[in-house]
Symmetry: C2
Subunit: 223 residues, 2 copies
DNA sequence: GATTGTGGGATTGTTGAACGATTCTACGAT
DNA sequence: ATCGTAGAATCGTTCAACAATCCCACAATC
């Protein structure tokens, strides 16, 4: 009975701070609040009609998700990933996603399908010259890869990681267009997986990370 | 100039909430506050002489670290890991640590030494029948393995992971004695690494995880 | 006897105001 | 141009209050 679980999730969403945090997260990820911007407690709190204490609680939630950074007595800012952040990001992705991909032969069909499907969709869209959601398709592909590990905490951590990566894309002024470059890579990886050559797929993924990291770092504007 | 960086870290530690959180974390990890216990805002805040708002901020910090769990309108509780939590914990460790260990030949000597040293110390202590800090030595070993990845975010996430594991040990009524069983395994892994047979070391680590997970889950008392 | 209302009491969620501490800004001195 | 300083703006923390929610015990019902 999935409806009950869904209802429970809705009920738990009662917290005001949670709602404020969700709204702010969306605003940041959509680019309405750009990296480096300072979020004034008074201004935001006043505009949203919540008290400072509640707003600060929302800030804390987003700080945990690395969406915001907190500087003592200075306030909170939209995170602005540096080159070093991107390097760290990809070092983590290499370990997590390559490690997860190596489990390909040990996981359920549903898990494998979660990797294949996003690429299939992206290919279908690309053939119709529809590049609208190519970015989220790419992320879905990698989210599927992480899912092979079968660890909720790892998937959650990866979601935070992808969110931070989005911020880096924004700093690099590359949001949607950026991803579609890597569709051929994803196709190749799935192809290698279907052929049963898992280790080659892992190597391909590793090379993808090399290219993506270098590309992103080079486009990162210092300020 | 490491002293400057250290001073900076000290200065940034000014926040009251941070200090309260550190104190509570230590209390929990030392076992003075056992898993499942509810932490009353009034009681704790009164005892520590901080306001409810500040205490709630400390609670948020510890919730992010998975030390505490927050239930809406019910309060915060010391996390009490379930069997499913432990399973998830080890699924994550398998991917992260095995993936990191495979980088053995690509990392600096200092990073490799951070893996070897804890085992050497543990062996030296064991030969003197000193099993005092065998638990932290084991954790240092695995922390070193994660460090091979060279990602601060991965190391941080692993620290949170180890903290949660500590809580699981406590639920299983196995804190210090638990670890020393696995010293031989660690020795074997380092030995295989020194022989240059990295892939065998990874396999050995994987088997260690199987054994440790099974052992811990079986000792976990339901309630 | 087991289940289902129904209170009151305790605790959390949220707000608003207040004040000291820290940072930022702009202006003027050297 | 650099430095120092005063004032403004903002953050950190506390306090008090009230609404919302949960918990527990007791009564009502079948």
């Amino acid at each position: 009975m999935s409806t009950l679980a869904q209802n429970k999730a809705d009920l738990e969403r009662a917290s005001t701070a949670q709602k404020v945090a969700d709204m702010l997260r969306e605003r940041v990820l959509l680019g309405e609040l750009e990296p480096g911007l300072r979020l004034s407690e008074e201004a935001i709190g006043g505009a949203l009609g919540v008290s400072r204490n509640t707003l600060r609680e929302a800030f804390r939630l987003l700080t945990r998700d690395r969406i915001l950074v907190h500087e003592h007595s200075r306030g909170v800012f939209v995170r602005r990933p540096t080159g070093e952040d991107v390097r760290d990001l990809y070092a983590a992705r290499r370990v997590i996603e390559c490690g997860a991909l190596r489990l390909w032969n040990d996981v359920s069909d549903a898990q494998r399908e979660a990797v294949r499907a996003p690429v299939r969709q992206a290919v279908a869209r690309a053939e119709k010259n529809d590049f609208s959601r190519t970015g989220s398709a790419n992320i879905q592909f990698h989210r599927g890869i992480v899912g092979l590990a079968g660890s909720a905490r790892l998937s959650d951590e990866s979601d935070r990681l992808f969110a931070e990566l989005m911020l880096a894309f924004r700093v690099a002024h590359e949001v949607e267009a950026f991803h579609q470059t890597y569709l051929p890579w994803n196709r190749k990886i799935v192809e290698l997986l279907n052929n049963g050559t898992v280790e080659q797929a892992v190597q391909q993924l590793d090379e993808y990370f090399d290219a993506a990291e270098q590309d992103l770092v080079s486009r990162l504007v210092a300020d």
